[in-house]
Amino acid sequence: MKKVKVEEVKSNLTNRRSFLRISGLAIAGTGLVIAGCSNDDDGGMTDPPVDNQLPGVRNGVFDLGGGDAGILTYAYALEQLEADFYTRVVNGNNFGSVFSSEEQSVLTDLYRHEVIHREFFRAALTGALNDPDRVLPDLDFDYGGLDFGNRLQVLNTAKTLEDTGVAAYNGAGRYITTPDYLVIAGKIVSVEARHASAIRSLLNPGSADFAGNDVIDANGLDLAQMPSEILAAVGSLGVVQTPFTAQFLP
């Protein structure tokens, strides 16, 4: 039978999300929490130890892993997608004629930024995990019928990718336990949001779309989505060809 115990929790325990509502933030730094106890005699907990949640191949498929390494690997996967997309855009046969010079400038910058983000994660994860087998391999992408010579198709896809990136980082932040990693994610997400704004204004200049009501709610808050939601959405695009799992991500 489940026991209930009162325990003091440190700031980054996983059940923190339920422990204070926004209105009660004055005691958020630390506090007493009444938590459903899942101690030894409970017998119902099956989460493997943290050591088992490193990224790597499980049952023949690469799993993104859990914890900070899992979140960073998840970000690396998304950056791979963005970098690949813009690399194809700027290498398109008609890039110089389909897009205005302003659009070319923006898309070329986005290609540069996303490639840099990808290479940053590749280097950071390679260093932090210290095991090449635990670093997500290069993913394959196939955009199906997407016409890279079609301005609207490219810009609309870019819009989806950038908005998705913003929602992904915003939603993942709370699962990062290392402050330095959180700051890094913050440094990247604001650039993704700058991208999203620029792409949106290229599509509909002079409008409110750069931060439109389709993404910003009545409290003035941007999108935030859980990794599972993002991965389902990205999966539904059918673009990522390399199978991977995310069994330890929320």
Binding site: K187, A211, D222
Partner: protein, 274 residues
Amino acid sequence: MNILKFIESFTDDNLLNSKSSRRDSFNQFKTLGKNAALASLPLGIASLVLAPTKANAAATAFMTTQDTPTTALQLALILEYLEDEFYQMALDTNGLIPAADQAIIAQISQHEAAHVQFLSSALGDMAPEKPDFDFTVGGAFDTFGDYPTFMALAQAFEDTGVRAYKGQAGNLMSNGDLLTAGLQIHSVEARHASQIRRLRGQKGWIVGSDRGGLPEAAQAVYDGEENAMQAGFNTASVMATNGPDIPAAAGPESFDEILTGQQASDIASLFFAQ
């Protein structure tokens, strides 16, 4: 400077009449302060938002050398007050905003107003009162008579907002809901910043520490943005393998930097009324 004047008026008048609920909250905060970890809070803003009376100002200064979710949100609210009033005044000034930009400025204004409401509600009794702002900085800027000046300040405020929220993220880690909300506001500020910059003919992202034609007084908004090293990785070293060149400058462009609470507070205090 003028921030001191504001603190003085705040401590002299407002809080002498403060409700007991504020004192209760303050005492609660005092208890909290002992437990909360982490480094220093900007003293200026801390005094501004928390100082209950002159008598215990010293104690306040001691306690508020802590960074907590509360102080992070208080700083955020001050910045949102500033942005909200700034855009509202612009919208209320006939002939300032060209018709072509009206929808953009109105959208930003709506977001800043929503942020003020959201943060005020989150902070409850711990919400600081709105300071009096002077967006002309003592008459130095024709902020609401000259659209380019208005837009230059808008860029400075938005880029400051992005960096300031980012700087507070670590202080919100203890509460996932607050952190998420902070991040959700942070990216909205970044969308605003990109749009304002592009209307000014700038790139939507910060290039090195270039202040983009803003007055030299705004350089503090951009100092540090030239950083290329991220977690030991030199972002300026990435070479193109398939496509156009990737210049070294693209590295710092692709990562925004933080402002500390003190830095953000110093920038905001330039616009407090004397």
